[in-house]
């Protein structure tokens, strides 16, 4: 709405920022990486404007700015770090030309939105082309390496982050390749500004211009280390010699620890974990994060996932049964589970009786009741449980 009313509003709001506007985009990890970069820059004493998690569409960004901008119409922060949806990036770049762009990955997610990874690459390229200061990419992502090569010789100075090949080889397949050859690991980039050298539980060794700094991650997982490397690489591009290892570590440590991948809701005094089935990589990460097979499982998938075929490619070995299955795609999911010997105890096409049946189960002996749902069902579940407001 604001975009339509005042096209100059956004560009005016940011025009006095010394470090300019940074777009953070990619298929997975945008929110985490945006938080990490914001944390690192703040630890260096900078004032940072950022958009709330998930508010990555033009309207969300405009609303966030409108709420913050003083009467002068200009933000007083030093830099704006914005999580940007890949599809809306080109449009946003017209209203708010980014000076710097950080691209994390292009993965086989949201296929129903984009059909082909090449389309996503095209969208990212359109706004990466606008950057006139820094373009930072993942050197392990073929599509991004190709994209950067197409923009070589442009106005933006290019740099990259990478993961040590041995770590990548042991990491989850989707991180390097997903189900798609276009995600094949690119040749190792010896000149990457930041490299994930080691991983030890919730700590990673990041080599920044050759010197290794040990940093804390919000949770275990190589993907968090890669997000941290991405944030560190953009911080290095923006700050140059002023980037210091202690502030880097401090900024990353300021991230809230993530103890479960999902959100934990309090349902009548009992904690219930909700895992969102957004796309193949995010579901796989969430499943892999489970230390044990959950004792009680609820699954809900509806038309918000028009084609759940991809779940045949997911490793579901962390599940040994499903207590209650619901949503308009329930029978497709039941078929999928059956072929992996995952017993489905009850299929309830309607959400309300399904929820009642699941919540009536006695509290599990260990862990929490676990719900695996797509985004649309998550909203309905939250509403049914009395959680009317989304956190952000």
């Amino acid at each position: 709405m604001v975009l339509a009313l005042s096209p100059r509003f956004l560009s005016r709001a940011v025009e006095r920022m010394p470090l300019g506007v940074v777009f953070v985009s990619g298929s997975n990890g945008k929110s985490t990486t945006t938080h990490m970069l914001t944390g690192i820059l703040r630890a260096h004493g900078l004032k940072v404007f950022s958009n709330p998690t998930g508010a990555n569409l033009p309207q969300g960004i405009a609303s966030a700015m409108l709420a913050t901008v003083p009467l002068s119409g200009r933000l007083t922060e030093d830099v704006a770090v914005l999580e940007v949806d890949e599809a809306f990036g080109p449009r946003l770049a017209k209203a708010l030309a980014p000076h710097s762009v950080l691209l994390i990955n292009i993965q086989v997610d949201q296929l129903n939105r984009f059909h082909e990874p090449a389309r996503v690459a095209g969208m990212l390229e359109e706004f990466a082309r606008v950057a006139d200061r820094h373009l930072v990419i993942n050197a392990d992502d073929h599509n991004l390496v190709d994209l950067a090569a197409r923009l070589a010789g442009g106005r933006a100075k290019q740099s990259a982050f990478a993961t040590a090949p041995a770590l990548l080889a042991d990491g989850p397949a989707w991180l390097s390749r997903g189900d798609n050859p276009e995600l094949a690991v690119a040749a190792a980039q010896p000149d990457a500004a930041v490299v994930v050298e080691s991983l030890d539980g919730r700590f990673a060794g990041l080599s920044v211009r050759g010197a290794v700094t040990r940093v804390a991650l919000p949770a275990r997982g190589l993907h968090y280390a890669v997000d941290a490397a991405a944030a560190a690489a953009m911080a290095e591009a923006l700050l140059g010699d002023e980037l210091d290892a202690a502030s880097l570590a401090e900024g990353l440590a300021s991230m809230d620890a993530v103890y479960g991948r999902g959100e934990v809701l309090d349902v009548g005094g009992e904690p219930v974990e909700i895992i969102t089935m957004k796309n193949p990589p995010s579901l796989q990460v969430n499943l892999d994060y489970l230390d044990e097979r959950p004792e009680q499982v609820f699954v809900a998938v509806d038309e918000g996932t028009p084609d759940p075929s991809w779940i045949y490619g997911s490793d579901l070995s962390r599940l040994d049964h499903v207590d209650v299955l619901t949503g308009s795609k329930a029978w497709q999911l039941a078929t999928r589970f059956f072929y992996s010997d995952i017993a489905v105890h009850s299929v309830e096409p309607e959400l309300k009786p399904a929820l009642e049946k699941f919540l009536a189960l006695p509290k599990p002996g260990r862990g929490m009741k676990t719900m695996i749902v797509n985004y649309e069902q998550m909203m309905l579940v939250r509403k049914a449980l009395g959680y009317l407001e989304m956190g952000s």
Binding site: N112, P181, P306, W310, Y312, G313, Q332, A334, R336
Partner: protein, 244 residues
């Protein structure tokens, strides 16, 4: 008895839509019927097995087709020999396009296919995306941009009740030819787990493969009843959503 060899072509490159579900269904159903089945994954550059009794190729974007094309030319003569000998193939969307006779890219350039299927495909920007219900109680999901022509009087797998099938995005939204039947082989645009959703076709392929492997088609002793009931309800839900 050595069992059925299921050759899975390019599982790394062509499998973007959960097509692996077809291989899972074939392997599980063979197991339920007491028929030994071994999956041979064919990767670029590796040798083919001495024999194959069933071949699966999944779907993928144009870039993935490009990656496998050269290797496919290398193995195409052998694939054609097998097809002529009655080995059943299941080819999904992009994989089917590669196994046809010709494939015309978006820029108009034409390449030769492996010649297993009597069909030719022309890529178009007008994609067909959505759930499909077709004759013979077939259902699934299409997401492709290929106008496919059947040659030599080959018959389609089905006629759509709702869905664009072989005509892709520019064609009619119903009464369209979908897929192809060529002897024991099937090509279809219904990507992802076509066989779990339409298990009678899995059994048809397995029956042909068992005969080639010299073994009787085993009795499932009721083991298929539950997943096939789920599949039937999945298809009914799709038809109901499409109003057909």
């Amino acid at each position: 008895m050595t069992g059925i060899t299921l050759l899975h072509l390019y599982p790394r490159e062509l499998g973007i839509n959960g097509d692996i579900g077809n291989v899972m269904a074939l392997a599980k159903r063979a197991q339920w019927r007491g028929m030994p089945l071994r999956v041979h994954n064919h990767e670029i550059g590796s040798p083919l097995p001495d024999a194959a009794h069933l071949v699966h190729i999944g779907s993928g974007p144009v870039s993935a087709q490009e990656l496998v094309r050269e290797d496919l030319y290398r193995i195409a003569p052998r694939l054609r020999e097998w097809a002529e000998a009655g080995v059943p193939f299941l080819a999904i969307a992009g994989g089917w396009q590669l196994l046809g006779r010709e494939l015309t890219a978006l820029d108009g350039s034409l390449s030769i296919g492996a010649g297993v299927f009597p069909s030719s495909a022309v890529l178009t920007t007008r994609r067909a995306v959505g759930e499909v219900a077709a004759s013979g109680d077939i259902a699934g999901f299409e997401n492709h941009g290929a106008v496919t022509t059947l040659l030599d009087g080959a018959l389609p797998l089905a006629t759509t009740l709702h869905g664009r099938g072989n005509a892709a995005g520019g064609g009619p939204a119903k009464d369209a030819a979908e897929g192809v039947i060529a002897g024991a082989s099937i090509g279809t645009n219904l990507h992802g787990p076509f066989l779990p959703m339409n298990p009678s076709w899995a059994d048809r392929l397995l029956r042909a493969a068992a005969a080639l492997a010299g073994m009787p088609f085993g009795d499932d002793e009721g083991r298929c009843a539950e997943p096939d009931d789920y599949a039937r309800k999945s298809r009914a839900a799709i038809r109901s959503r499409l109003g057909v």
